[in-house]
Amino acid sequence: MGEVIVITSGKGGVGKTTNSANIGAGLALANKKVVLVDADIGLRNLDVVLGLENRIVYDLVDVVEGNCRYKQALIKDKRFEGLYLLPAAQTRDKDAVSPEQMQKLCSILKEEFDYVIIDCPAGIEQGFKNAIAGADRAIVVTTPEISAVRDADRIIGLLEANELNNPMLILNRLRLDMVKRGDMMTIEDVKDILSIDVLGVVPDDEVIVVSTNKGEPAVTNLNSRAGQAFNNIVNRILGQKIEIMDFNRKDSFFTAIKNFFKLKKA
């Protein structure tokens, strides 16, 4: 019996889909059988991030409406043995699926797969309710910005109200240079505010843009910091104990002196 993990955030644009794609691909590289479910009906994107957009025949709504068998809708990723995508419908809206239908679908999928990763849409409405309905655990993605962390806090409350206790946090797009000069919240700050466990920290990295451009998950690129970070996240999901990289804020006075001389020179 597999596990259903929903990847959610509240705020849009913080990296739910990128994280879903990389976690899914990473788990498949670790010889797990994985299905990625795009629950963002009407605004599907997991297909393009994975580079599988040309192979869609049936989608999630077709499956729940019984237009096809679920196996017909699954797209096998030829690059990663054991990785499958169940794409969202693009021309329907969130109401096309109910939480009960999602629950049923998840219970079928986890019979066959080790991991069912659900990419949740932004927001707290119907799409969110659908995405979390069949989940066993939740991962909350946020960036170190006030708006994203605030929304993450709201999402954590809603997850717990729906009995998805102890969600784990991924802090995405951390900029080490900004943290060092004191202009970005640190991992500790965010952890302290949300009081949840950190599953991983992904540094801001151009590699993500490049790999998304190409439709190739960055987790395969272990020379990149983001790729390493995703790999660590995958290993932690698999139960390994791996330390979170330490990115503590440096003495801001020293940084200020340095900046002062830099500015003067210019």
Partner: protein, 100 residues
Amino acid sequence: MLKSVLNNLSNLFKSSGDSGNIAKSRLKLVLVHDRADCQGDIMEALKNDIIQVIKKYVELDGDLNIEISNKIASDNKNDSAVSVLCANIPIKKMRKVSVN
């Protein structure tokens, strides 16, 4: 030229790279409100209980107004924001009660 140097100096002492901390303390304030708002019924129950206790000693003039607000507590070493339960109690007069 002099102006820019002065500007840089003032920036230096303002500890320019501090917006991370500003974000953290602002966020803490916002979240206290957000979290409190989710529990309207609890606040109502708390208010009713407080009224029951106060009525034993004080005659109230109008409604009791309570809210959770945030302030920097002066005795708080970290100078971080803490949430404070504020009750506004309009008193008509004290009751004559004997305390044994």
